[in-house]
């Protein structure tokens, strides 16, 4: 890996840190990335499925996941984890991510103060797995013009001022995150910006150290020279010195260790980070600066002279032709004022010449010559997919089958009573529709849910019956008032025949029929009824269309199956309501002799 990130790099962001994510997306928009750099967000406690962010002037939705494994299952291309968990959980999050074999190339850990022993364990596990860890206790890293982590570089104005929006020729490694911006700025003023930059983090034990990053930059052709900003404490700078002496690093390095002040104070004053405490003479900033200079590294006389040194090295490389001119790219400007959208629509769009259903102009699906039916319209508007003909025809068959079941069923009855009270079509209709629920029409949902459960768990029909007995629920979709195996419901027969002929496979129906054999052996009329058949065949339809079990469960949970009943039965209810209007039927009053009156005098409670 010669480059940490490219313009195609995508990350999973652990923790829904909206400001930081928005800054990444603003950066992405500014530099003209094709895809946002955040592919998904892990937000374990959120009930939402996505979070809205601005992408330039528009908004986009970034999916939310409950866990890192969930996120990578949906976003396998995301090979960077930005771990923004707190110091209490950052270790567990990192270890879990390292455990997902081959997924993450780099993991950035922002938390400060992870217990040292855990940090060491985590860093070792990452090294063993070949994963680059940036941090802990860091603002991250940046590959200008390609990918930027969270808050590094600060505001978008500063990023452009510091030329962090496009690749320059310097590789920058610092410990401090605050000074990272500062050095980037110095480099922008005195040279041509950076090609890649990493703030390795301020804790004593960090995953990737100076040498790891400098060796990668040595092999990155875009990096022509490196700048290292070290700190008092530790011996990591000596590894760099060794690499320079051994010829492992040949590109020029400019370096400075901050914290020269520490030599004036024997103990007690902690200058800088947790990692910054000199335990031996060799670990003092002054000793390291001298040793680096002796190894041929460019070391300024003081931090204040760093800009001069950078300018000298840059100009030298430029005059030798090692560094060329950089063409300044055109920038897309993020608008200063952006308005959040209150509503989201993902199914239809009325902004163009002609309104569309999931991308298809209405005229392209409406007229008979298009060959499209109401099943196609449902597949577009309800599922945002173009279902094949067998599926759209099945949907239509279902709608037609459930359109009406006579005036006596409770929904139709309610609609009729309301219509007779002088209410409008819509009022009477909703009265009927409001009756739809667990007892009226709900068997479709229930049948799909319980039969699927039995099939998913490989229950034999007998085990399934036992299970339902234990749950205390009569099996939805089984049983009819009068119909039996000998006197079959022709609607059911029609649906079964259609499915058996046109569905690629009907595993759940096949299973349901074995259940029916058992139930009808107990009682003649315990047949698979029309609600059950529809629910079960819908599951078979979705399975054959390639939906996974989780998506199908979601359809069942969200009430999608009932929607077919609602849409279909609306046709029948309206028929009944119009019938009442046509007949000009008077107000309905229920006959008193049809009511059992049993009204004792209310007891007094003292």
């Amino acid at each position: 890996m010669s480059k940490l990130y490219t313009k195609d790099t995508q990350a999973i962001f652990w923790n829904n840190n909206k400001t930081a994510i928005q800054r990444m997306l603003d950066y992405d928009y500014t530099i003209g990335r094709d895809k946002p750099s955040v592919a998904g967000i892990v937000a374990p406690t959120s009930g939402n499925k996505f979070e809205k962010f601005f992408y330039g002037p528009d908004e986009i939705m970034v999916p939310l996941y409950k866990s890192t494994p969930d996120a990578v299952a949906e976003q396998p291309q995301a090979d960077v984890l930005l771990n923004f968990a707190s110091f209490r959980t950052a270790y567990d999050v990192t270890m879990e991510a390292i455990g997902i074999e081959g997924q993450f190339k780099s993991i950035m850990v922002t938390a400060e103060g992870i217990p040292e022993r855990l940090a060491r364990t985590m860093n070792q596990a990452a090294r063993d797995a070949g994963v680059t860890v940036i941090g802990p206790a860091t603002v991250g890293a940046i590959a200008p013009g390609a990918f930027k982590i969270a808050n590094i570089g600060g505001t978008i104005e500063n990023i452009v001022n510091s030329k962090l929006h496009r690749a320059g020729s310097c590789g920058l490694v610092t410990r401090s995150g605050g000074l990272f911006n500062e050095i980037s700025n110095i480099i922008a003023i005195n040279a041509d910006g950076i090609a890649e930059g990493v703030a390795i983090g301020g804790d004593r034990f960090v995953g990737s150290v100076f040498i790891d990053n400098l060796l990668r930059m040595e092999s990155n052709p875009d990096v022509k020279y490196m700048i290292l900003l070290g700190e008092v404490g530790g011996t990591e700078e000596y590894k760099v010195i060794d690499a320079v002496k051994s010829g492992q690093i040949t590109k020029p390095i400019i370096a400075w260790c901050i914290g020269t002040i520490a030599k004036h104070f024997s103990s007690g004053v902690q200058f800088g980070h947790a990692g910054a405490s000199a335990n031996a003479d060799a670990e003092t900033a002054a000793a390291k600066n001298i040793a680096m200079a002796e190894a041929g590294i460019h070391v300024p006389a003081s931090f204040n002279d760093l800009p001069v040194t950078i300018r000298e090295v840059y100009n030298d490389l430029k005059s030798k032709g090692i560094i060329g001119e950089i063409e300044e790219p055109e920038l897309k400007i993020v608008p200063k004022v952006r308005k959040k959208k209150e509503f989201i629509c993902t199914i239809s769009d009325d902004r163009g010449e002609e309104a569309t259903y999931a991308g298809f102009p209405i005229s392209s699906v409406a007229t008979p010559d298009t060959g499209k039916g109401i099943g196609d319209v449902i597949s577009l508007l309800w599922f945002k997919k173009q279902y094949p003909e067998w599926a759209t025809q099945f949907i239509e068959t279902v709608m037609k089958t459930v359109a009406d079941h006579g005036p006596a069923v409770s929904g139709a009855h309610n609609a009729k009573v309301t219509a007779r009270a002088g209410k409008s079509v819509v009022e009477a209709l909703v009265t009927g529709l409001l009756t739809i629920g667990p007892r009226f029409g709900g068997a479709i949902d229930g049948a799909a849910k319980y039969f699927k459960y039995a099939d998913d768990n490989d229950l034999t029909p007998a085990e399934f019956l036992n299970h339902m007995k234990k749950v205390g629920v009569p099996i939805p979709g089984i049983g009819h008032r009068i119909k039996s195996l000998k006197n079959p419901d022709l609607r059911v027969e029609g649906l079964k025949k259609f499915a058996q002929e046109y569905f690629p496979a009907t595993p759940l129906l096949d299973y349901a029929l074995t259940v029916e054999q058992l139930t009808t052996s107990k009682k003649e009329n315990l047949i698979l009824n029309v609600d059950g058949t529809i629910g079960i065949l819908m599951v078979d339809m979705w399975r054959a269309l390639g939906y996974d079990e989780e998506e199908i469960d979601e359809f069942i949970e969200s009430g999608t199956l009932n929607s077919f009943f609602i849409a279909g039965r609306t046709i029948g209810f309206i028929g009944h309501i119009l019938d009442e209007k046509r007949l000009a039927m008077p107000m309905y009053r229920h006959p008193m002799d049809d009511i059992l009156y049993d009204v004792p005098v209310a007891e007094e409670i003292k």
Binding site: N181, I261, H264, A274, N304
Partner: protein, 436 residues
């Protein structure tokens, strides 16, 4: 800072609390008390469980994070001969030792406040061993020696065996490595027992999240009885959130000789603990000429470096930072504290105030500067009376407004001010201030 020293008493208390869990085959009595006066010692001696204070000969010594107590003549173990110190004598000694300032051989000065008192343990020199563990580089290292006591530091290389234990080394390998490195001059009869103790010591050190743990000497008495005569320990305090029960009630005292924090430093530390932002203040020289109010940890270091380079360290009055997006109110409080401190002593050359900072990642510069301006309003007269020159350098979100506001306010109040943005090198204002 992740590694914090704890008292010898607390270190022993952690041992005692977990002894049976870790040190199979060994026994530790944990007869220790921590007191701050002779009276307190005598009070404890009346309590049940502490009868030994009256019954046994005692040893008393300060428990204040510094070592070489023997060489500093701060260990009471004899009146006329070793092992004859009584409770009353120990109490009198403690009261005497804390009645005056003490200067250690290393030069630190201060008052003794905490003492550990334990029974005198008669033993022979050959029962004393040395053991310690710490982290070196990426590995843990266990140090063992057959020679306990204070002589161990002389001739460390010859006398001490080291075992390097990488973080991912399985226990079986660690045990093998420890056994292979048991010092040869430990008597054969004790080798097995010592190896067993050393292995358990390492596991204890590791699981308890010690950063450093040293017993010098550990005394192996008969029948597995162990005496911890002297102990030095540092804990990794970042592990505190998961070790609260295991550590018990632990105190992280300030090092001896470090003058106790001033009222102002304590107030800033308290504000820091209540804030999501970071507020830090150390007063280096209250009469110093150059005062800093720097945003960000890294920047605060380079400003201190640069002031020491250009002016000399004695001119640098303070070190500290405000960062991580402090509120206007927090910044005002921080600024007031600095302004108050810097206007207490006059300097013929006048005072310099460096309001510095790198280019912020997310801190709103205008917002924090509003806090500084509010403090200017209060301290303008005093700052002028001390002939204060103010140099400002900052970048980051909203910095243009911040710089404009602070310049306007200073001009209005008649304060000397120079203001610079990201086009000026971060520490260059130090040079400008000192060249004047």
């Amino acid at each position: 800072m992740a590694q914090k020293a704890i008292r010898e008493y607390d270190g022993k208390a952690i041992f005692a609390k977990h002894w049976n869990e870790y040190f199979d085959g060994f026994h530790y009595g944990f007869k220790s008390v921590l007191v701050t006066s002779g009276d307190e010692l005598k009070e404890i001696a009346k309590k049940h469980g502490f009868e030994w204070l009256n019954q046994e000969a005692l040893v008393a010594k300060p428990d204040m994070l510094f070592g070489k107590r023997g060489k500093n003549d701060l260990v009471l173990f004899r009146t006329t001969k070793p092992g004859d110190v009584t409770l009353d004598e120990a109490a009198t000694w403690i009261d005497e030792k804390q009645s005056h300032e003490v200067t250690l051989l290393s030069g630190e000065k201060g008052h003794l406040t905490h003492f550990i008192v334990e029974p005198f343990t008669p033993h022979t020199q050959d029962q004393e061993y040395y053991i310690s563990a710490t982290t070196v580089g990426e590995d843990d290292v266990l140090y063992m020696s057959a020679e306990g006591g204070m002589e161990v530091e002389e001739g460390w290389d010859e006398k001490v065996n080291e075992v390097h234990i990488p973080i991912n080394m399985p226990d079986a390998d660690m045990e093998k490595a420890v056994k292979a490195h048991i010092p040869a001059d430990i008597p054969d009869a004790n080798k097995t027992a010592f190896a067993s103790f050393a292995i358990q010591f390492f596991k204890f050190y590791r699981d308890m999240n010690f950063a450093y743990l040293e017993i010098n000497p550990i005394v192996m008495l008969d029948n597995g009885e162990m005496a911890i005569l002297d102990l030095v320990a540092r804990l990794d305090d970042t592990a505190g959130f998961m070790m609260a029960d295991a550590w018990g009630d632990i105190e992280f005292p300030t090092a001896f000789g470090m003058e106790d924090q001033s009222k102002e430093e304590k107030a800033i530390a308290e504000a820091d603990s209540k804030s999501g932002a970071s507020l830090k203040l150390t007063i280096l020289n209250p009469q110093g000429r150059i005062w800093t109010m720097v945003a960000g940890g890294g920047a605060s270091v380079v400003y201190a470096d640069t002031i020491a380079d250009f002016a000399g360290v004695e001119d640098l009055a303070n070190y500290g930072e405000y960062s991580g997006g402090p509120t206007t109110g927090e910044t005002k409080f921080y600024a007031e504290t600095i302004f108050d401190l810097m206007t207490r002593y006059s300097d013929p050359e006048g005072k310099v105030l460096i309001i510095g900072g790198a280019i912020a990642n997310f801190t709103d510069v205008a917002k924090t500067f509003t806090g500084i301006i509010q403090a200017f309003e209060i301290y303008a007269d005093k700052l002028k009376a001390h002939n204060t020159k103010i140099y400002v350098r900052r970048g980051g979100p909203n910095y243009e407004k911040g710089l404009k506001d602070i310049k306007e306010a200073a001009d209005r109040l008649g304060l000397y001010i120079e203001v610079y943005g990201p086009e000026t090198h971060v520490t260059d204002i130090v040079r400008m201030a000192l060249e004047k």
